[in-house]
Protein backbone atom coordinates (compact mmCIF):
# COMPACT_ATOMS: atom_id res chain seq x y z
CA UNK A 1 0.00 0.00 0.00
CA UNK A 2 3.05 2.19 0.07
CA UNK A 3 2.22 3.44 -3.40
CA UNK A 4 -1.19 4.70 -2.40
CA UNK A 5 0.21 6.30 0.71
CA UNK A 6 2.88 8.06 -1.30
CA UNK A 7 0.30 9.36 -3.72
CA UNK A 8 -1.96 10.68 -0.99
CA UNK A 9 1.06 12.23 0.64
CA UNK A 10 2.00 13.82 -2.64
CA UNK A 11 -1.44 15.34 -2.88
CA UNK A 12 -1.11 16.81 0.55
CA UNK A 13 2.37 18.11 -0.20
CA UNK A 14 1.10 19.84 -3.30
CA UNK A 15 -1.66 21.46 -1.29
CA UNK A 16 0.77 22.59 1.36
CA UNK A 17 3.43 23.75 -1.07
CA UNK A 18 0.88 26.05 -2.58
CA UNK A 19 0.96 28.11 0.56
CA UNK A 20 4.59 29.07 0.12
CA UNK A 21 5.08 29.13 -3.57
CA UNK A 22 4.85 32.44 -5.39
CA UNK A 23 2.24 32.54 -8.14
CA UNK A 24 4.72 32.56 -11.01
CA UNK A 25 6.36 29.35 -9.79
CA UNK A 26 3.13 27.38 -9.65
CA UNK A 27 3.83 25.90 -13.03
CA UNK A 28 6.75 24.15 -11.48
CA UNK A 29 4.45 22.66 -8.90
CA UNK A 30 2.48 20.84 -11.51
CA UNK A 31 5.59 19.61 -13.26
CA UNK A 32 7.08 18.47 -9.96
CA UNK A 33 3.96 16.54 -9.12
CA UNK A 34 4.06 14.96 -12.55
CA UNK A 35 7.72 14.12 -12.12
CA UNK A 36 7.05 12.59 -8.74
CA UNK A 37 4.27 10.46 -10.17
CA UNK A 38 6.52 9.47 -13.01
CA UNK A 39 9.09 8.31 -10.49
CA UNK A 40 6.43 6.33 -8.69
CA UNK A 41 5.38 4.86 -12.01
CA UNK A 42 8.92 3.80 -12.83
CA UNK A 43 9.31 2.47 -9.32
CA UNK A 44 6.51 -0.02 -9.96
CA UNK A 45 8.84 -1.81 -12.32
CA UNK A 46 11.59 -2.29 -9.76
CA UNK A 47 11.56 -5.54 -7.92
CA UNK A 48 11.50 -4.18 -4.37
CA UNK A 49 8.28 -2.38 -4.87
CA UNK A 50 5.07 -3.59 -3.35
CA UNK A 51 3.64 -3.69 -6.85
CA UNK A 52 5.86 -6.51 -7.91
CA UNK A 53 3.98 -9.42 -9.28
CA UNK A 54 6.31 -11.88 -7.64
CA UNK A 55 4.56 -11.50 -4.37
CA UNK A 56 1.81 -13.78 -5.46
CA UNK A 57 -1.92 -13.89 -5.01
CA UNK A 58 -1.88 -14.17 -1.24
CA UNK A 59 -0.71 -10.59 -0.99
CA UNK A 60 -3.72 -9.19 0.74
CA UNK A 61 -3.83 -6.59 3.38
CA UNK A 62 -6.48 -4.94 5.51
CA UNK A 63 -8.35 -8.14 6.12
CA UNK A 64 -8.70 -8.97 2.43
CA UNK A 65 -10.06 -5.57 1.44
CA UNK A 66 -7.01 -4.68 -0.51
CA UNK A 67 -5.54 -6.99 -3.10
CA UNK A 68 -2.29 -6.48 -4.90
CA UNK A 69 -2.50 -8.89 -7.79
CA UNK A 70 -1.41 -8.58 -11.39
CA UNK A 71 -4.59 -6.86 -12.46
CA UNK A 72 -4.23 -4.26 -9.73
CA UNK A 73 -0.65 -3.58 -10.67
CA UNK A 74 -1.52 -3.28 -14.33
CA UNK A 75 -4.15 -0.70 -13.67
CA UNK A 76 -2.05 1.17 -11.15
CA UNK A 77 0.61 1.65 -13.75
CA UNK A 78 -2.10 2.67 -16.15
CA UNK A 79 -3.52 5.28 -13.77
CA UNK A 80 -0.12 6.62 -12.82
CA UNK A 81 0.84 7.11 -16.41
CA UNK A 82 -2.47 8.77 -17.19
CA UNK A 83 -2.08 11.09 -14.21
CA UNK A 84 1.38 12.12 -15.28
CA UNK A 85 0.19 13.08 -18.70
CA UNK A 86 -2.92 14.78 -17.39
CA UNK A 87 -0.85 16.82 -14.97
CA UNK A 88 1.40 18.02 -17.75
CA UNK A 89 -1.71 18.93 -19.68
CA UNK A 90 -3.12 20.67 -16.62
CA UNK A 91 -0.05 22.85 -16.32
CA UNK A 92 -0.50 23.90 -19.91
CA UNK A 93 -4.12 24.60 -19.15
CA UNK A 94 -3.48 26.44 -15.90
CA UNK A 95 -3.87 29.93 -17.36
CA UNK A 96 -7.51 29.19 -18.01
CA UNK A 97 -8.32 27.80 -14.61
CA UNK A 98 -7.93 31.00 -12.71
CA UNK A 99 -7.60 30.74 -8.95
CA UNK A 100 -6.53 27.60 -7.18
CA UNK A 101 -4.30 25.97 -9.71
CA UNK A 102 -2.48 24.02 -7.06
CA UNK A 103 -5.72 22.63 -5.75
CA UNK A 104 -6.45 21.51 -9.26
CA UNK A 105 -3.18 19.61 -9.34
CA UNK A 106 -3.71 18.11 -5.93
CA UNK A 107 -7.26 17.07 -6.76
CA UNK A 108 -5.94 15.22 -9.77
CA UNK A 109 -3.52 13.46 -7.47
CA UNK A 110 -6.33 12.62 -5.05
CA UNK A 111 -8.49 11.27 -7.81
CA UNK A 112 -5.51 9.19 -8.80
CA UNK A 113 -5.30 7.88 -5.27
CA UNK A 114 -8.94 6.87 -5.51
CA UNK A 115 -8.23 5.03 -8.75
CA UNK A 116 -5.27 3.25 -7.23
CA UNK A 117 -7.43 2.09 -4.37
CA UNK A 118 -10.15 1.03 -6.74
CA UNK A 119 -7.66 -1.06 -8.70
CA UNK A 120 -6.89 -2.97 -5.56
CA UNK A 121 -10.39 -3.06 -4.11
CA UNK A 122 -11.38 -6.57 -3.19
CA UNK A 123 -14.31 -5.69 -1.05
CA UNK A 124 -17.47 -3.64 -1.48
CA UNK A 125 -16.52 -1.25 1.30
CA UNK A 126 -13.14 -0.48 -0.18
CA UNK A 127 -14.67 -0.27 -3.57
CA UNK A 128 -17.31 2.17 -2.44
CA UNK A 129 -14.84 4.38 -0.66
CA UNK A 130 -12.50 4.40 -3.62
CA UNK A 131 -15.21 5.15 -6.13
CA UNK A 132 -16.62 7.96 -4.09
CA UNK A 133 -13.17 9.42 -3.66
CA UNK A 134 -12.87 9.51 -7.41
CA UNK A 135 -16.38 10.74 -8.07
CA UNK A 136 -16.44 13.53 -5.52
CA UNK A 137 -13.04 14.73 -6.65
CA UNK A 138 -14.30 14.80 -10.19
CA UNK A 139 -17.32 16.89 -9.22
CA UNK A 140 -14.86 19.54 -8.19
CA UNK A 141 -12.48 18.99 -11.09
CA UNK A 142 -15.32 19.27 -13.57
CA UNK A 143 -16.63 22.55 -12.24
CA UNK A 144 -13.22 24.00 -11.59
CA UNK A 145 -13.55 26.84 -14.07
CA UNK A 146 -15.96 28.67 -11.85
CA UNK A 147 -16.07 31.60 -14.18
CA UNK A 148 -17.53 29.49 -16.99
CA UNK A 149 -21.19 28.61 -16.79
CA UNK A 150 -20.61 25.53 -18.86
CA UNK A 151 -18.09 24.18 -16.45
CA UNK A 152 -20.46 24.66 -13.56
CA UNK A 153 -23.35 23.21 -15.48
CA UNK A 154 -21.28 20.18 -16.34
CA UNK A 155 -20.33 19.85 -12.69
CA UNK A 156 -23.94 19.94 -11.54
CA UNK A 157 -25.03 17.41 -14.14
CA UNK A 158 -22.24 15.11 -13.17
CA UNK A 159 -23.09 15.65 -9.54
CA UNK A 160 -26.77 14.79 -9.76
CA UNK A 161 -26.39 11.82 -12.08
CA UNK A 162 -23.29 10.64 -10.26
CA UNK A 163 -25.10 10.74 -6.97
CA UNK A 164 -28.02 8.92 -8.53
CA UNK A 165 -25.76 6.17 -9.75
CA UNK A 166 -24.07 6.05 -6.36
CA UNK A 167 -27.45 5.62 -4.73
CA UNK A 168 -28.21 2.69 -7.00
CA UNK A 169 -24.83 1.21 -6.36
CA UNK A 170 -25.11 1.54 -2.62
CA UNK A 171 -28.55 0.04 -2.64
CA UNK A 172 -27.25 -2.77 -4.76
CA UNK A 173 -24.43 -3.37 -2.32
CA UNK A 174 -26.95 -3.41 0.48
CA UNK A 175 -29.05 -6.03 -1.25
CA UNK A 176 -26.07 -8.18 -2.17
CA UNK A 177 -24.71 -8.04 1.30
CA UNK A 178 -28.14 -8.60 2.76
CA UNK A 179 -28.69 -11.82 0.86
CA UNK A 180 -25.19 -13.25 1.00
CA UNK A 181 -23.67 -11.61 4.01
CA UNK A 182 -20.36 -11.16 2.21
CA UNK A 183 -18.47 -8.00 1.38
CA UNK A 184 -15.30 -9.71 0.28
CA UNK A 185 -15.20 -10.75 -3.35
CA UNK A 186 -13.48 -14.08 -2.84
CA UNK A 187 -15.89 -15.07 -0.14
CA UNK A 188 -18.78 -13.90 -2.25
CA UNK A 189 -17.57 -15.99 -5.15
CA UNK A 190 -17.85 -19.13 -3.07
CA UNK A 191 -21.50 -18.56 -2.24
CA UNK A 192 -22.71 -16.59 -5.22
CA UNK A 193 -23.56 -19.71 -7.17
CA UNK A 194 -26.22 -20.60 -4.64
CA UNK A 195 -27.95 -17.28 -5.10
CA UNK A 196 -28.05 -17.36 -8.86
CA UNK A 197 -31.81 -17.67 -8.75
CA UNK A 198 -32.38 -15.33 -5.83
CA UNK A 199 -34.20 -12.30 -7.15
CA UNK A 200 -33.20 -9.97 -4.36
CA UNK A 201 -29.58 -10.87 -4.94
CA UNK A 202 -29.89 -10.37 -8.66
CA UNK A 203 -31.64 -7.07 -8.06
CA UNK A 204 -28.65 -6.06 -6.03
CA UNK A 205 -26.24 -7.17 -8.68
CA UNK A 206 -28.07 -5.21 -11.34
CA UNK A 207 -28.17 -2.11 -9.17
CA UNK A 208 -24.48 -2.42 -8.49
CA UNK A 209 -23.77 -2.79 -12.18
CA UNK A 210 -25.81 0.33 -12.86
CA UNK A 211 -23.30 2.23 -10.78
CA UNK A 212 -20.41 0.80 -12.77
CA UNK A 213 -22.27 1.33 -16.02
CA UNK A 214 -22.48 4.99 -15.16
CA UNK A 215 -18.72 5.16 -14.65
CA UNK A 216 -17.88 3.56 -17.95
CA UNK A 217 -20.70 5.42 -19.73
CA UNK A 218 -22.42 2.36 -21.08
CA UNK A 219 -25.89 2.52 -22.52
CA UNK A 220 -28.39 3.31 -20.96
CA UNK A 221 -26.38 5.26 -18.40
CA UNK A 222 -24.43 7.35 -20.87
CA UNK A 223 -26.54 10.50 -20.89
CA UNK A 224 -24.12 12.62 -18.91
CA UNK A 225 -21.09 11.94 -21.02
CA UNK A 226 -21.28 14.47 -23.86
CA UNK A 227 -22.42 17.33 -21.66
CA UNK A 228 -19.82 16.74 -18.98
CA UNK A 229 -17.06 16.16 -21.51
CA UNK A 230 -17.92 19.38 -23.21
CA UNK A 231 -18.24 21.51 -20.12
CA UNK A 232 -15.36 20.25 -18.03
CA UNK A 233 -11.88 21.75 -18.32
CA UNK A 234 -10.01 19.77 -20.93
CA UNK A 235 -7.53 18.04 -18.57
CA UNK A 236 -10.45 16.94 -16.44
CA UNK A 237 -12.22 15.57 -19.47
CA UNK A 238 -9.11 13.68 -20.41
CA UNK A 239 -8.76 12.20 -16.97
CA UNK A 240 -12.43 11.40 -16.91
CA UNK A 241 -12.23 9.68 -20.24
CA UNK A 242 -9.22 7.61 -19.35
CA UNK A 243 -9.01 7.21 -15.60
CA UNK A 244 -12.60 7.16 -14.56
CA UNK A 245 -13.62 4.86 -17.38
CA UNK A 246 -10.77 2.48 -16.70
CA UNK A 247 -11.73 2.41 -13.04
CA UNK A 248 -15.18 1.34 -14.04
CA UNK A 249 -13.73 -1.44 -16.15
CA UNK A 250 -11.30 -2.76 -13.58
CA UNK A 251 -14.12 -2.93 -11.06
CA UNK A 252 -16.43 -4.51 -13.59
CA UNK A 253 -13.86 -7.16 -14.41
CA UNK A 254 -13.19 -7.83 -10.78
CA UNK A 255 -16.84 -7.94 -9.85
CA UNK A 256 -17.98 -10.10 -12.74
CA UNK A 257 -15.10 -12.53 -12.84
CA UNK A 258 -13.88 -12.65 -9.26
CA UNK A 259 -16.98 -11.99 -7.20
CA UNK A 260 -19.83 -13.55 -9.15
CA UNK A 261 -18.27 -15.67 -11.92
CA UNK A 262 -21.02 -18.29 -11.75
CA UNK A 263 -23.73 -15.70 -12.20
CA UNK A 264 -21.88 -13.70 -14.81
CA UNK A 265 -21.60 -16.75 -17.05
CA UNK A 266 -25.34 -16.50 -17.71
CA UNK A 267 -25.35 -12.84 -18.47
CA UNK A 268 -23.81 -12.84 -21.87
CA UNK A 269 -27.09 -11.86 -23.47
CA UNK A 270 -27.37 -8.71 -21.40
CA UNK A 271 -23.74 -7.85 -22.03
CA UNK A 272 -24.09 -8.42 -25.76
CA UNK A 273 -27.12 -6.18 -26.00
CA UNK A 274 -25.64 -3.43 -23.84
CA UNK A 275 -22.37 -3.53 -25.70
CA UNK A 276 -24.01 -3.45 -29.12
CA UNK A 277 -26.38 -0.62 -28.33
CA UNK A 278 -23.65 1.40 -26.64
CA UNK A 279 -21.50 1.18 -29.73
CA UNK A 280 -24.29 2.19 -32.05
CA UNK A 281 -25.58 4.95 -29.82
CA UNK A 282 -22.24 6.59 -29.34
CA UNK A 283 -21.31 6.48 -32.96
CA UNK A 284 -24.64 7.52 -34.38
CA UNK A 285 -25.01 10.48 -32.08
CA UNK A 286 -21.52 11.67 -32.89
CA UNK A 287 -22.29 11.81 -36.62
CA UNK A 288 -23.84 15.29 -36.84
CA UNK A 289 -21.65 16.71 -34.08
CA UNK A 290 -19.39 19.70 -34.68
CA UNK A 291 -17.98 20.25 -31.22
CA UNK A 292 -14.74 18.36 -30.90
CA UNK A 293 -15.02 17.61 -27.22
CA UNK A 294 -18.58 16.46 -27.63
CA UNK A 295 -17.48 14.24 -30.48
CA UNK A 296 -14.97 12.69 -28.17
CA UNK A 297 -17.68 12.39 -25.54
CA UNK A 298 -19.88 10.38 -27.85
CA UNK A 299 -16.92 8.47 -29.10
CA UNK A 300 -16.05 7.64 -25.53
CA UNK A 301 -19.50 6.08 -25.20
CA UNK A 302 -18.83 4.06 -28.33
CA UNK A 303 -15.49 2.97 -26.99
CA UNK A 304 -17.09 1.85 -23.78
CA UNK A 305 -19.16 -0.36 -26.01
CA UNK A 306 -16.08 -1.71 -27.76
CA UNK A 307 -14.39 -2.53 -24.48
CA UNK A 308 -17.58 -4.21 -23.34
CA UNK A 309 -17.10 -6.58 -26.30
CA UNK A 310 -14.20 -8.03 -24.43
CA UNK A 311 -16.19 -8.28 -21.24
CA UNK A 312 -19.14 -9.80 -23.04
CA UNK A 313 -16.95 -12.52 -24.48
CA UNK A 314 -16.57 -13.82 -20.91
CA UNK A 315 -13.23 -15.42 -21.70
CA UNK A 316 -9.69 -14.72 -20.66
CA UNK A 317 -8.96 -13.71 -24.23
CA UNK A 318 -11.68 -11.11 -23.91
CA UNK A 319 -10.39 -9.89 -20.58
CA UNK A 320 -6.85 -9.44 -21.82
CA UNK A 321 -8.23 -7.71 -24.90
CA UNK A 322 -9.97 -5.26 -22.57
CA UNK A 323 -6.68 -4.47 -20.90
CA UNK A 324 -4.93 -4.05 -24.21
CA UNK A 325 -7.62 -1.87 -25.60
CA UNK A 326 -7.65 0.38 -22.56
CA UNK A 327 -3.88 0.77 -22.75
CA UNK A 328 -4.15 1.90 -26.33
CA UNK A 329 -7.08 4.10 -25.50
CA UNK A 330 -4.98 5.84 -22.84
CA UNK A 331 -2.40 7.11 -25.30
CA UNK A 332 -4.90 7.87 -28.00
CA UNK A 333 -7.39 9.85 -25.98
CA UNK A 334 -4.78 11.72 -24.02
CA UNK A 335 -3.09 12.69 -27.26
CA UNK A 336 -6.37 13.95 -28.65
CA UNK A 337 -7.21 15.97 -25.59
CA UNK A 338 -3.72 17.37 -25.37
CA UNK A 339 -4.08 18.72 -28.87
CA UNK A 340 -7.51 20.11 -28.11
CA UNK A 341 -6.18 21.80 -24.99
CA UNK A 342 -3.43 23.43 -26.99
CA UNK A 343 -5.27 24.36 -30.15
CA UNK A 344 -8.53 25.51 -28.68
CA UNK A 345 -6.75 27.59 -26.07
CA UNK A 346 -8.23 30.90 -27.09
CA UNK A 347 -11.51 29.72 -28.44
CA UNK A 348 -14.73 29.74 -26.59
CA UNK A 349 -16.13 26.53 -27.95
CA UNK A 350 -14.34 23.59 -29.42
CA UNK A 351 -15.93 23.79 -32.85
CA UNK A 352 -14.25 21.81 -35.60
CA UNK A 353 -13.65 25.04 -37.47
CA UNK A 354 -11.03 25.86 -34.88
CA UNK A 355 -8.88 23.13 -36.36
CA UNK A 356 -8.68 24.81 -39.74
CA UNK A 357 -5.11 25.30 -40.81
CA UNK A 358 -3.74 23.29 -37.92
CA UNK A 359 -1.60 21.53 -40.45
CA UNK A 360 0.24 24.77 -41.10
CA UNK A 361 0.12 26.10 -37.58
CA UNK A 362 1.71 23.09 -35.99
CA UNK A 363 2.50 20.01 -38.02
CA UNK A 364 3.28 18.10 -34.86
CA UNK A 365 -0.14 18.68 -33.36
CA UNK A 366 -1.84 18.05 -36.67
CA UNK A 367 -0.05 14.75 -37.00
CA UNK A 368 -0.83 13.85 -33.42
CA UNK A 369 -4.53 14.57 -33.71
CA UNK A 370 -4.68 12.76 -37.03
CA UNK A 371 -2.99 9.72 -35.59
CA UNK A 372 -5.24 9.84 -32.55
CA UNK A 373 -8.32 9.84 -34.76
CA UNK A 374 -6.91 7.07 -36.88
CA UNK A 375 -6.18 5.05 -33.79
CA UNK A 376 -9.64 5.67 -32.38
CA UNK A 377 -11.08 4.55 -35.69
CA UNK A 378 -9.04 1.40 -35.39
CA UNK A 379 -6.84 1.59 -38.42
CA UNK A 380 -3.34 0.14 -38.58
CA UNK A 381 -0.61 0.65 -37.60
CA UNK A 382 -1.81 2.21 -34.36
CA UNK A 383 -2.84 0.92 -30.99
CA UNK A 384 -6.55 1.18 -31.67
CA UNK A 385 -6.36 -1.32 -34.47
CA UNK A 386 -4.66 -4.00 -32.52
CA UNK A 387 -7.01 -3.47 -29.59
CA UNK A 388 -10.04 -3.84 -31.82
CA UNK A 389 -8.48 -6.83 -33.46
CA UNK A 390 -8.08 -8.56 -30.11
CA UNK A 391 -11.61 -7.67 -29.05
CA UNK A 392 -13.11 -8.90 -32.29
CA UNK A 393 -11.08 -12.05 -32.08
CA UNK A 394 -12.31 -12.70 -28.57
CA UNK A 395 -15.91 -12.15 -29.62
CA UNK A 396 -15.76 -14.17 -32.80
CA UNK A 397 -14.11 -16.99 -30.95
CA UNK A 398 -17.33 -17.33 -28.97
CA UNK A 399 -19.40 -17.16 -32.12
CA UNK A 400 -19.86 -20.88 -32.74
CA UNK A 401 -21.21 -21.31 -29.22
CA UNK A 402 -23.64 -18.43 -29.42
CA UNK A 403 -24.52 -16.75 -32.67
CA UNK A 404 -25.34 -13.58 -30.80
CA UNK A 405 -21.63 -12.98 -30.74
CA UNK A 406 -21.48 -12.88 -34.50
CA UNK A 407 -24.24 -10.31 -34.49
CA UNK A 408 -22.28 -8.37 -31.91
CA UNK A 409 -19.17 -8.48 -34.05
CA UNK A 410 -21.07 -7.13 -37.02
CA UNK A 411 -22.68 -4.45 -34.88
CA UNK A 412 -19.21 -3.42 -33.80
CA UNK A 413 -18.15 -3.30 -37.44
CA UNK A 414 -21.11 -1.13 -38.31
CA UNK A 415 -20.11 1.12 -35.47
CA UNK A 416 -16.56 1.35 -36.74
CA UNK A 417 -17.77 2.29 -40.20
CA UNK A 418 -20.04 4.99 -38.83
CA UNK A 419 -17.29 6.27 -36.62
CA UNK A 420 -14.95 6.64 -39.56
CA UNK A 421 -17.19 9.36 -40.86
CA UNK A 422 -16.73 11.68 -37.93
CA UNK A 423 -13.17 10.73 -37.10
CA UNK A 424 -12.18 11.42 -40.67
CA UNK A 425 -14.27 14.55 -40.49
CA UNK A 426 -11.83 15.74 -37.86
CA UNK A 427 -8.92 14.85 -40.11
CA UNK A 428 -10.60 16.73 -42.87
CA UNK A 429 -11.00 19.78 -40.65
CA UNK A 430 -7.28 19.68 -40.00
CA UNK A 431 -6.12 19.39 -43.58
CA UNK A 432 -8.69 21.01 -45.73
CA UNK A 433 -11.77 23.02 -44.97
CA UNK A 434 -13.60 26.04 -46.22
CA UNK A 435 -12.95 28.17 -43.15
CA UNK A 436 -10.15 30.63 -43.50
CA UNK A 437 -7.72 29.71 -40.79
CA UNK A 438 -5.65 32.04 -38.71
CA UNK A 439 -2.15 30.85 -39.30
CA UNK A 440 -0.46 32.00 -36.12
CA UNK A 441 1.91 29.26 -35.05
CA UNK A 442 1.06 27.44 -31.85
CA UNK A 443 3.60 27.49 -29.08
CA UNK A 444 4.06 24.34 -27.13
CA UNK A 445 6.06 23.98 -23.98
CA UNK A 446 8.81 21.38 -23.85
CA UNK A 447 7.13 19.04 -21.36
CA UNK A 448 3.91 19.18 -23.35
CA UNK A 449 5.78 18.39 -26.49
CA UNK A 450 7.36 15.45 -24.79
CA UNK A 451 4.01 14.30 -23.50
CA UNK A 452 2.47 14.51 -26.96
CA UNK A 453 5.37 12.67 -28.52
CA UNK A 454 5.18 10.08 -25.81
CA UNK A 455 1.52 9.50 -26.57
CA UNK A 456 2.30 9.13 -30.25
CA UNK A 457 5.10 6.74 -29.51
CA UNK A 458 2.73 4.78 -27.32
CA UNK A 459 0.16 4.51 -30.07
CA UNK A 460 2.77 3.29 -32.50
CA UNK A 461 4.38 0.94 -30.02
CA UNK A 462 1.12 -0.78 -29.18
CA UNK A 463 0.16 -0.95 -32.82
CA UNK A 464 3.42 -2.33 -34.10
CA UNK A 465 4.93 -4.30 -31.26
CA UNK A 466 1.98 -5.71 -29.41
CA UNK A 467 3.80 -8.81 -28.27
CA UNK A 468 5.04 -7.61 -24.89
CA UNK A 469 1.78 -6.11 -23.72
CA UNK A 470 -0.26 -9.04 -24.98
CA UNK A 471 1.82 -11.44 -22.96
CA UNK A 472 1.63 -9.17 -19.95
CA UNK A 473 -2.13 -8.79 -20.23
CA UNK A 474 -2.62 -12.50 -20.68
CA UNK A 475 -0.64 -13.13 -17.54
CA UNK A 476 -2.48 -10.45 -15.62
CA UNK A 477 -5.95 -11.71 -16.27
CA UNK A 478 -5.01 -15.06 -14.81
CA UNK A 479 -5.32 -13.42 -11.41
CA UNK A 480 -9.00 -12.85 -11.99
CA UNK A 481 -9.95 -16.47 -11.64
Amino acid sequence: MSLEISVVALGLIVLLADLWLPAERKRMLGYSAAAALLLLFLNTFTSHCSCSLAEGPDNMTSAGMFIQDGLAVFFKRFFLLAAVLVLVMAVEFSDRIGAGVSEYYSLIVFALAGMLFAASANDFVMLFAAIELITITFYVLTSFQRGRVRSLEAGVKYLILGALSSAFMVYGIALIWGTTGKFNFQELAQVAGKFAANRVFLFGVVFFLVGLGFKIAAFPFQMWTPDVYEGAPTPTTAFLAVGSKATGFVLLLRFLFTAIPDVAMHWNKLLIIVSGITILYGNLCALPQRNLKRILGYSSIAHAGYVLLGVAALTTAGESAVLYYLAGYLFTVLAAFAVIALVMRHLNSEDLAGLAGLNQRSPLLAATLTLAMVSLAGIPPLAGFFGKFLLLKAVIEQGPANHGYYCLAFTALAGVIISLYYYFGVIRAIYWSKETPDLSPIEISKPMKMAVCFCMAGMFYLGLFPGALINYAAQVVKSLK
Binding site: A129, G155, L164, Y171, A174, G178, E230
Partner: protein, 101 residues
Protein backbone atom coordinates in the same frame (compact mmCIF):
# COMPACT_ATOMS: atom_id res chain seq x y z
CA UNK B 1 -47.94 -7.88 14.22
CA UNK B 2 -44.46 -9.18 14.13
CA UNK B 3 -42.22 -6.76 12.33
CA UNK B 4 -39.75 -8.78 10.28
CA UNK B 5 -36.95 -8.11 7.84
CA UNK B 6 -39.39 -7.84 4.97
CA UNK B 7 -41.14 -4.90 6.54
CA UNK B 8 -37.93 -3.00 6.90
CA UNK B 9 -36.97 -3.81 3.41
CA UNK B 10 -40.28 -2.67 2.05
CA UNK B 11 -39.91 0.60 3.88
CA UNK B 12 -36.41 0.92 2.53
CA UNK B 13 -37.58 0.18 -0.97
CA UNK B 14 -40.38 2.70 -0.61
CA UNK B 15 -37.91 5.31 0.55
CA UNK B 16 -35.71 4.50 -2.40
CA UNK B 17 -38.62 4.78 -4.78
CA UNK B 18 -39.72 8.00 -3.19
CA UNK B 19 -36.27 9.45 -3.62
CA UNK B 20 -36.18 8.29 -7.20
CA UNK B 21 -39.55 9.85 -7.85
CA UNK B 22 -38.30 13.06 -6.35
CA UNK B 23 -35.24 13.08 -8.60
CA UNK B 24 -37.20 12.59 -11.75
CA UNK B 25 -40.12 14.89 -10.98
CA UNK B 26 -38.79 17.87 -9.06
CA UNK B 27 -37.26 20.71 -10.97
CA UNK B 28 -35.28 22.35 -8.24
CA UNK B 29 -31.71 21.19 -7.94
CA UNK B 30 -31.72 21.41 -4.15
CA UNK B 31 -34.83 19.26 -3.90
CA UNK B 32 -33.41 16.78 -6.35
CA UNK B 33 -30.31 16.62 -4.28
CA UNK B 34 -32.33 16.03 -1.13
CA UNK B 35 -34.14 13.20 -2.83
CA UNK B 36 -30.80 11.65 -3.67
CA UNK B 37 -29.82 11.79 -0.03
CA UNK B 38 -33.08 10.02 0.71
CA UNK B 39 -32.08 7.24 -1.63
CA UNK B 40 -28.73 6.87 0.07
CA UNK B 41 -30.45 6.67 3.38
CA UNK B 42 -32.83 4.02 2.15
CA UNK B 43 -29.74 1.96 1.42
CA UNK B 44 -28.54 2.66 4.91
CA UNK B 45 -31.83 1.46 6.32
CA UNK B 46 -31.59 -1.73 4.30
CA UNK B 47 -28.05 -2.33 5.46
CA UNK B 48 -28.86 -1.76 9.06
CA UNK B 49 -31.89 -4.00 9.02
CA UNK B 50 -29.97 -6.75 7.21
CA UNK B 51 -27.25 -6.35 9.78
CA UNK B 52 -29.73 -6.63 12.60
CA UNK B 53 -31.59 -9.62 11.25
CA UNK B 54 -28.55 -11.49 9.97
CA UNK B 55 -26.65 -10.80 13.10
CA UNK B 56 -23.68 -9.41 11.20
CA UNK B 57 -22.22 -6.07 12.18
CA UNK B 58 -20.25 -5.54 8.98
CA UNK B 59 -23.25 -3.89 7.38
CA UNK B 60 -23.29 -1.20 9.97
CA UNK B 61 -19.67 -0.45 9.24
CA UNK B 62 -20.66 0.11 5.68
CA UNK B 63 -23.38 2.49 6.83
CA UNK B 64 -20.79 4.67 8.48
CA UNK B 65 -18.85 4.83 5.27
CA UNK B 66 -21.95 5.80 3.41
CA UNK B 67 -22.87 8.52 5.85
CA UNK B 68 -19.41 9.98 5.69
CA UNK B 69 -19.30 9.91 1.96
CA UNK B 70 -22.74 11.42 1.75
CA UNK B 71 -21.63 14.24 3.95
CA UNK B 72 -18.68 14.95 1.72
CA UNK B 73 -20.86 14.73 -1.31
CA UNK B 74 -23.35 17.17 0.14
CA UNK B 75 -20.60 19.60 0.99
CA UNK B 76 -19.26 19.58 -2.52
CA UNK B 77 -22.66 19.41 -4.13
CA UNK B 78 -24.22 22.27 -2.29
CA UNK B 79 -21.19 24.43 -2.90
CA UNK B 80 -21.49 23.65 -6.54
CA UNK B 81 -25.18 24.43 -6.69
CA UNK B 82 -24.65 27.66 -4.86
CA UNK B 83 -21.87 28.65 -7.24
CA UNK B 84 -24.16 27.98 -10.13
CA UNK B 85 -26.99 29.90 -8.50
CA UNK B 86 -24.72 32.89 -8.16
CA UNK B 87 -23.88 32.76 -11.80
CA UNK B 88 -27.34 32.21 -13.17
CA UNK B 89 -29.70 33.31 -10.39
CA UNK B 90 -31.56 30.03 -10.77
CA UNK B 91 -31.46 26.52 -9.46
CA UNK B 92 -33.89 25.04 -11.90
CA UNK B 93 -32.94 22.24 -14.21
CA UNK B 94 -34.58 23.87 -17.21
CA UNK B 95 -32.03 26.63 -17.00
CA UNK B 96 -29.21 24.19 -17.19
CA UNK B 97 -29.40 23.33 -20.85
CA UNK B 98 -26.68 25.38 -22.47
CA UNK B 99 -25.07 22.13 -23.54
CA UNK B 100 -27.22 19.71 -25.42
CA UNK B 101 -27.51 17.49 -28.49
Amino acid sequence: MNVGLEHYLVVSALLFALGLLGVITRRNLIVMYMSLELMLNSANLALVSFSRFNDNLNGQVMVFFIITVAAAEVAVGLALIVALYRKRQSAHVEDLTSMKL
